[in-house]
Subunit: 262 residues, 3 copies
């Protein structure tokens, strides 16, 4: 992973259309994150059109934050289109440990073979069937506690699994990486994790899933580091974060990525 920045460069050149079915909290910031990064976001969820629209998109990002039955059905419909066309799609199992409804929906979505599953440690533990209830969207478990579960889940689902935290852990079940980029203010801004999944989806287009996911996490975390240099709190952090996503060059990402094999 000496070339994290090249994934950003390729993504900006292709400006992929990322179909997002995400939660109400994340919709605006997730779209702004994708635009700042250089991709083209589209939020479409109605069952009347979600399959037709998925057929136009280059990648799909699914997030169960503010879940509802009709939305869950739309997520499945879109994921089926992507899966059948071998197009990349990313699953964010927000708060999956909190309720039975979330566990059921995630089980159905995992059967549709997501390319990448990204969550916090509690969510990955819950997905792997090992507990980890969490508290809503916030993790109560450290990343290291979820590493074995992440590898199991990756092998079982044929997906890349990324565990977000102070140091992220990313694995396809065989190889694994750690990404140390990021800043402690990031969890103080809502939906930055949800928004990251759109960036991962954009990076996946035409690229191998494991290094593309690692590169997306490094770019995202590095943007957080840049933002923290100017921030006086979570309000100014969010502003500077969008600016950093926009201004960081591929060369700066390659130079600033803190990635190691695990």
């Amino acid at each position: 992973m000496e070339d994290a920045g090249t994934y950003l460069g390729t993504m900006r050149t292709t400006a992929p259309l990322v179909h997002s079915i995400t939660n109400y909290v994340a919709m605006n910031i997730a779209a702004n994150v994708l635009l700042a990064a250089g991709a083209s976001p589209a939020m479409v969820h109605a069952r009347e059109e979600v399959e037709e629209f998925a057929g136009l998109a280059n990648a799909l990002s699914v997030n169960i934050g503010t879940l509802d039955t009709p939305w869950a059905e739309a997520m499945e419909m879109a994921a089926k289109v992507m899966s059948a066309a071998r197009m990349p799609w990313v699953l964010d199992p927000v708060g999956v440990g909190a309720t039975q409804f979330r566990r059921d929906v995630c089980a159905r979505l995992m059967a549709l073979r997501p390319t990448v599953i990204r969550g916090n440690a509690s969510e990955i533990l819950a997905l792997a069937g090992l507990g980890g209830a969490g508290r809503g969207a916030d993790s109560t478990d450290p990343v290291t506690a979820a590493e074995a579960s992440a590898r199991d889940l990756a092998l079982r689902c044929g997906a890349v699994v990324a565990v977000s935290g102070p140091v992220d852990y990313i694995t396809d079940g065989v190889q694994a990486f750690r990404v140390a980029n990021g800043d402690s203010l990031m969890p103080r801004v809502t939906a930055l994790g949800c928004s990251l999944n759109g960036v991962i989806a954009a990076f996946l287009v035409g690229q191998p899933a494991l290094p593309a996911t690692v590169a997306a996490l490094a770019y995202y975390g590095l943007s957080g580091e840049r933002a923290a240099q100017k921030a006086k709190g979570p309000g100014s952090f969010q502003v500077a974060f969008l600016d950093a996503l926009y201004t960081l060059s591929p060369q700066e990402v390659t130079a600033g990525a803190r990635v190691v094999r695990a």
Copy 2:
């Protein structure tokens, strides 16, 4: 009320999980306000899981801004859980005077004994059955015109009632306080009133309702005053406001609170 800041300190230490069923406009900023203040927000509304989730939360905030029948049902389901468990919950009757649908939903919610009802003067007048139609989310009545209605409503519902405005009025029907903190730019940023209700809910956890509500309003208004010192308009105000919620210390809140008995 010489100790407004201690309520902030306690809230930050416990970092309560605040279940929010709020409107689409407010979702993002309400979550960011709670994160900046030091609480943990979770937006969950589906009838399939709303009761199960309410059982995990420390407090509930209900806001009828972008109301719909399924959402109204979810609000009632969650409020019942909180009420039965004697856990705090806050009602924000946005635009209740505007339509019969809103009046009906609020009547059902008030029967579930909210701990705190917070609205602008027009909303409190409408809730008390005395007119006050307002214009959507904006008040057309002064705070003082709603004080008698607030006291009546408080006694009738067994709730603390807070009337927001340039000087807020807070009463449990017997005692009353005025909070003079705040800034004229606050109504120029959408959903800051809605977001305040989440902060009140967080302050209520394990605390007596009347002083906790007063303390929340003082902290919130003081954050607005800090933000106004740096703002050049409503855009920069919102950024500085989130920063101020995050950086204000309990000592600064105690020192800056402008609270008097009414």
Copy 3:
């Protein structure tokens, strides 16, 4: 059009209540844009109350971004109220070229005689039945390619049609104007186009549709130019843009408007 600023002055004096039925991505920023400009926004969509509420509003803004069947029905119900009362309403046909569902909904809405239709070139081409699929919310066609379609559509619908782009084109089918105000960062912030429609709706109240629309576009674009002077990327641009909407005076708008007859 030597007097673009007077439309802003009149709008601020009347502070119209703008009923918005818009998409989840745009809800917050659209409300903040209206508040910053000096209008009063209200987001109401439930079929239980949407007609009653439309009856209270001064103007309506309809945007099909995150469309769904119940929302489409609410849009029709509200548009019928405005049309019957000869009150202004604005249609934003987001991504109409992308799916059959969107084309069907827009056909029904156009039959309800919108006062103004605003979209990007791809959307206007698609509405006029001439293709222009676009990519989600982003245009793939230049403004000039849509000018003839805009005139046809205007005559057919009895509406003012505005085509957004680096230089906007606005026509009632007979007369036409170009507005050159704006900045290249505007498409890098999500939902600024959607939010513009609310401002157009506010400007329309009590004014002739064609010059009011032109004035709204000039004011909006000029605010973008002001914001760009301070922005370091799309995050700081959005903040400065809201500040500029708030601080720009009618005199500055008249002086800075770059409007020519087409």
